[in-house]
């Protein structure tokens, strides 16, 4: 009995000890992430969100997007753009330093551009390739000369490219194998355990605004349910994951949790191969788009936490969204069938319409097996279209297999082998209004043109927009493009899901909600 008693005492002491250790203190943040993010260098982080956001807590960019998507000087103090739009004279802030104490100079900027050009990486090589040459008149000044004028260079590229320390990276030949990140940013990576957690600590010598936290611990919680159970149980303070709509009400009613909500910029769309068959006919695509009940999608799948459409692709929260292209023309099933008959189709014996040659309006519709919202959306859309005389065969596929059909080798010039597919673009495509990339018929410009859409009018508008730096003139060109898109529908934009995030205000309550991107962005992690 005595032994048992002693054992029980020992166990309770251990339990208390663990509990004591489990309590966190001071300005620390426990932020659940969804998967391992590699070694957090620009070459090894894994996901655009939240991987890029965490990587840029360690590395800095020349400019930083603020909450309203306006670029603000970060490493740069000021930039002078020459009249012809080719020369960017960037003056760096004074007394910039790397986390190891070395000074950060214009030579690092020049080195970074060169390094990303030589060591290919989709996101940053593309941005760096816009730069033809760099000169460094002095340690604080870098002059970037572009190959051709590009109005998006500062707002899209200079806010995106992380600056690398030359004294570390000049000897690195295979950037994929760098194991220890070292930048100039507000946080230093103190500990990394693969598939378990990251621990970032405040950079005591940070040149900029004071970091908001002493330490950030980012555990990997793979399962969505477990993530929000951990949040409710107080094991974490915030999750990078979107809160699923059905949890919003429960979280809102709790005193210890808060919800931050705003428009999201990640799109959910239907893409179509518009190069052949009936789908090449814009009038048929209009009938299809008019049959879909967008509000039903939003109500059923997002419990109304989202924005439907719009036919012009850019969401209403985008500063360059055309307010006239926000609604689809509607078709009831009867109207749709009447319109199809006008277009020369006739009703077959099974209710599916056929063209003059006897080809049925029958399409294979691909969707992701790992995304229940897209799968359910595909089912609802198929119902809507079938009511109007189409025959839709849904085929679920694993992610890579689907991409292989719609975007073989990530190169639109390699063609495509699909008819319709659920798809979506990540937030930057809408945030940066990359309509040229989405729609241009030249594969080297229209790198995201998965529909194979070809319209000379759009090409010329997109070409002009790319070199127009006056914001109003550029917006006017983008408006025109959206009007054509809404008319021609090379893709059908279904909805933009709201960003909904939950956090414990007791740990931190000063989050910055960036339009379309949510609360996990660099602005939230430094003091205002």
């Amino acid at each position: 009995m005595q032994v048992l008693k002693r054992f029980l005492v020992a166990v309770s002491v251990l339990v208390l000890l663990t509990l004591a250790f489990a309590e966190h203190s001071g300005r620390s943040l426990r932020m659940a992430i969804t998967q391992d993010e590699g070694t957090l260098t620009p070459y090894t982080y894994q996901t655009g969100y939240p991987g890029y956001e965490i990587m840029t807590l360690i590395y800095d960019t020349l400019y930083l997007m603020d909450a309203n998507l306006n670029p603000q000087p970060w490493l740069a103090a000021d930039t002078e753009i020459s009249e012809d739009g080719l020369n960017y004279t960037i003056t760096l802030k004074e007394n910039l330093s790397w986390q190891d104490g070395e000074a950060l100079t214009s030579a690092d900027v020049a080195f970074t551009m060169q390094y990303f050009k030589e060591n290919l990486l989709g996101r940053f090589t593309t941005a760096a390739n816009k730069v033809a040459s760099v000169t460094t008149p002095d340690a604080q000044t870098a002059v970037l000369t572009l190959a051709s004028p590009d109005a998006t260079f500062l707002p899209n590229s200079l806010t995106d490219i992380p600056i690398l320390p030359e004294h570390v990276w000049s000897s690195i030949t295979d950037p994929k194998t760098v194991e220890e990140p070292m930048g100039s940013g507000p946080y230093i990576l103190a500990e990394y355990r693969a598939d378990q957690f990251y621990r970032l600590v405040e950079n005591p010598n940070f040149w900029g605004p004071k970091p908001a936290f002493d330490s950030i611990i980012a555990p990997v919680i793979r399962d969505q349910t477990a993530t929000f159970q951990a949040l409710q149980a107080g094991e974490i303070d915030v999750a990078v994951r979107n809160v699923s709509p059905e949890l919003v009400e429960r979280f809102s009613s709790r005193n210890d949790l808060k919800i931050a909500q705003g428009p999201g910029f990640a799109s959910t769309i239907v893409i179509m191969d518009v190069t052949q068959g009936a789908l090449a006919n814009p009038a048929v695509r209009q009938v299809m788009a008019g049959l879909i009940d967008y509000n039903r999608l939003i109500d059923n799948l997002l419990l109304s936490y989202g924005t439907s459409g719009p036919p012009g692709f850019l969401p209403p929260a985008s500063p360059v969204a055309n307010p006239n292209t926000q609604e689809y023309p509607k078709f009831t099933p009867a109207e749709a069938q009447a319109r199809l008959e006008e277009l020369g189709f006739s009703k077959g014996s099974d209710g599916v319409y056929v063209d003059a040659e006897g080809n049925q309006l029958e399409f294979e519709f691909l969707t992701y097996s790992d995304n229940p919202i897209r799968l359910r959306a595909a089912e609802l859309i198929a119902q809507d279209l079938q009511a109007g005389g189409f025959s839709i065969n849904i085929r679920t596929m694993e992610r890579e297999a689907l991409v292989d059909r719609v975007w073989p080798e990530f190169d639109v010039s390699k063609g495509r082998s699909y008819q319709m597919s659920m798809f979506g673009w990540s937030a930057p495509v809408a945030a940066q209004a990359r309509l040229g990339a989405l729609l241009h018929s030249d594969p080297s410009v229209g790198v995201l043109n998965l529909s194979g859409y070809n319209n000379p009018e759009i090409d010329s508008l997109a070409d002009q927009a790319a070199i127009t730096s006056d914001p109003e003139a550029r917006a006017a060109l983008l408006y025109d493009i959206q009007e054509i898109v809404a008319q021609e529908l090379p893709l059908i934009t279904l909805f933009y899901q709201d960003g909904i995030y939950a956090y414990r205000p007791a740990a931190f309550d000063n989050w910055t909600f960036m339009a379309g991107q949510g609360i996990i962005n660099k602005n939230s992690f430094v003091q205002k």
């Binding site: 989709g122 355990r193 957690f197 611990i217 919680i221 793979r222 159970q229 990530f410």
Partner: protein, 324 residues
Amino acid sequence: MNWYLGRLGQYAIVLVAALTLNFFLPRAMPGNPLQFLAGEDVGLLSPEQIAQVQARYGLDKPLWQQYLRYLGSIFTGNWGFSYQAGLPVIETILTRLPWTLLLVGTSLLVASLFGVLFGAIASWYRGGSFDTSSLVGSILFDSLPTFWLGMMLIAIFAVELRWFPIFGAVTPWGPKSGWPYIWDILRHLVLPATTLTLATLSGTYLVMRYSMLDVLGQDYIRTARSKGVQERQVLLKHAVRNALLPVSTVIFLNLGFLVGGATVIETVFSYPGIGTLLFQAVINRDYPVLQGAFLVLTISVIVANIMSDATYPLLDPRVRKGAS
């Protein structure tokens, strides 16, 4: 001796076949690892640049050349770098292996012990209340989806009662050494190990139960009883020992899959094991990690088989005699 040599030859053939499959199966899947070699926005690169990326990793070479290079790399121990994480494959596997061994090993041990125990008791009292309830219970746990079982355990024991943590293998902000650290690891182990045990218990239990029933019907049990041997002696010495033979095969086979991890449970509990590593590698088409992890898995299955073959004659004299 010849018997063992013959066996070894068979295993060598199995190994080569498995190595070949490990190489070709991942590549037969549609899709490719480009997105993880060239990072996000790989679509923004020009076709020439994409070709350059593929050349850098030798993916532009004909498949047979890649295959020969792969075979060579296995024997030189240079398994390459993970496409996703940028870390050496061996390091990637070794950081996950201890957690998988701990999780799967613990539950294998517990499931085997309780499986044998429950199986023996159930068959000894065949038709009794323990037999019925354990049989129903084992079928129930076997048919419950593992992730659901795991979520229920989390909801009850981690969220409501707060007895155990919800995720991970250690507390990231917790102790890093000594007894508190070990205690922390054990607390994190309880729920995933319990889930895995409940999910796998029925296999051993059912084999043990049927094996015992078979043995109990044998002549030598009747003979023992009629000789007046005590019931306890009959159970332990005559019945259980003989009934354990097929069970040992099952346990050895399970042992082989030990390093494969338990993907679903590792995902539900965010346990950093081989299962999630493999799953992520399949999704990302991370060929080097797939090859490395499957190689480790293949070898451990073969070793477990060899151990099973080698120990069987020791356990069963009849096999020993037949071989000599």
